[in-house]
Symmetry: C2
Subunit: 337 residues, 2 copies
Amino acid sequence: MRSYSVAVVGATGAVGWEMVKILAERNFPLKKLRLLATARSAGQEISFKDEKVKIEVIKPRIFADIDIALFSIGSTPSKEIAPRAVKEGAIVIDNSNAFRMDDHVPLVVPEVNREDIAEHQGIIANPNCSTIQMVVAIKPIYDEVGIKRIIVSTYQAVSGTGKKAIKELQQQVEHYNTGQEMEAVIYPHQIAFNVLPHIDVFTENGYTREEIKMFNETRKIMHDPELLVNATCARVPVFYGHSEAVTLETAREISLERVRELLHQAAGVKVVDDPVNLIYPLALLAEKDDDVLVGRLRKDLTHRLGINLWIVGNNLRKGAALNAVQIAEEVITNQLV
Amino acid sequence: MRSYSVAVVGATGAVGWEMVKILAERNFPLKKLRLLATARSAGQEISFKDEKVKIEVIKPRIFADIDIALFSIGSTPSKEIAPRAVKEGAIVIDNSNAFRMDDHVPLVVPEVNREDIAEHQGIIANPNCSTIQMVVAIKPIYDEVGIKRIIVSTYQAVSGTGKKAIKELQQQVEHYNTGQEMEAVIYPHQIAFNVLPHIDVFTENGYTREEIKMFNETRKIMHDPELLVNATCARVPVFYGHSEAVTLETAREISLERVRELLHQAAGVKVVDDPVNLIYPLALLAEKDDDVLVGRLRKDLTHRLGINLWIVGNNLRKGAALNAVQIAEEVITNQLV
């Protein structure tokens, strides 16, 4: 079996670190693993299986012997470095917002639109975390009866912001316990024991960029420029796992039984829906589960074609690192490298 | 000026305690304040202004010299004791779910339907916390252009469950800090760093009773049996302040500017909506504010008549104790006692 040289770019970040763990867990066919980061992290070592791998600084020609580079370094550095990596010969799977809406860049969730990978011109974009878990859950319903409109409210974990945000929530609850003042640095307001209706920056129409991403990315992934997505995105004091309250308006009628059946059969989805026994999707469950958890299934009593769902996903894994590695696996399976 | 004998029934609970504080803050015209509770709390003392008031046990004839009794003891005890209090001559303002949907009991949010108080036959019901803050915020829009459908996702604080739930969240974060196991007793699952899509008990159609309350109570308060309310209610690790992501579908078109203007003029509402300066409603802000905070105002991009709002209220005060005291004030102003 062929093996591949893979680089994780941004290996010391919350997502980069998950990428390294997932490559090990899934026994990715590696010839060589290189871990890259900015100068700040250079020299650090990360465990990979039984070895220690040293973090190297990104420098010219470093991608020359890399087949696939998994990027998680944020939009601005990605915009600069990803095209360079492609020129040097690597395929880039980029986790940032930099290329997602670029017409020449496929935006991929393998369970939904793996076929788009074939169109790549060097860069494949990994969607936003809240979008990924939502499209995985709704795709089987979309394929069966169509979906016209989605209303989604998110309950997003701090790990989506990165390691410093995890630390900030930890410190705030520690200060709460010791009676010290809670400081907010990463977020504009205290996140402990609070809810912030604010993720990413605000745009002119009053929506945050996170909300606009859910609108645009869902359309692109689903290949449906008419699909309507009304999103409200909020941060909650949770470390891992994004929760979403989703109301769908389907194009044609579908029974709840059929929705349940479709979700049971769907790849990457686990139906967690036995409320009588207090079983429903929880952020804490997503910490240990790579599937998208779906529950609280019910008919919207206010719309003939309405369905309500509660969707929970591990934002660092399926929402970021795992989806990127799955894209890499598809690239290999389809001999696109 | 006339003064009144008032009893707070359930004075040692989270809401009862707020009721006592609010009676003091608002200089309620009191002839006498009696604090009642179950035998368990009897003998305890609560500060009221400069006095200490002793908790008495509820017993026959105790309501004979009471004009207004504010009840916060839960549905089952309310069902038994409130009718007795009415027979003994008191007007009961009940915070539980016991009488809310009773045709002979007005369900009142003074800013919305104060005129219903006149119909009372001894008991006036205080609505559910999540419903109160929502109707206060949407009423001015309803009056101007009508509302057909509401889609609401809640982010509810643990204080809504009571003092023991506050303690449970405190203990769980303390145990998190000391590395001890987190125990869940009041909630079926850990609430710290988690989101529970489950408030009150599940009903047969998959909705929780909390979600059904929002549907039924909103219709009754607004006097609109056609109004559609699709609710998803979730508990978040927040001590005080319920947040709500609300999407309205109005009956006629309205500009965002006009919505803003109406909300600015509305009693009991504060517009907190300057996202560029990172100003929007927060659960933590509601701890110190009796108004319902409304922000994140934006046109729903997916519906011609859609409006999105983020609504935050203090669940123990406007969502419970304050609304009850405001009803009592209306009863007095309108000489209904």
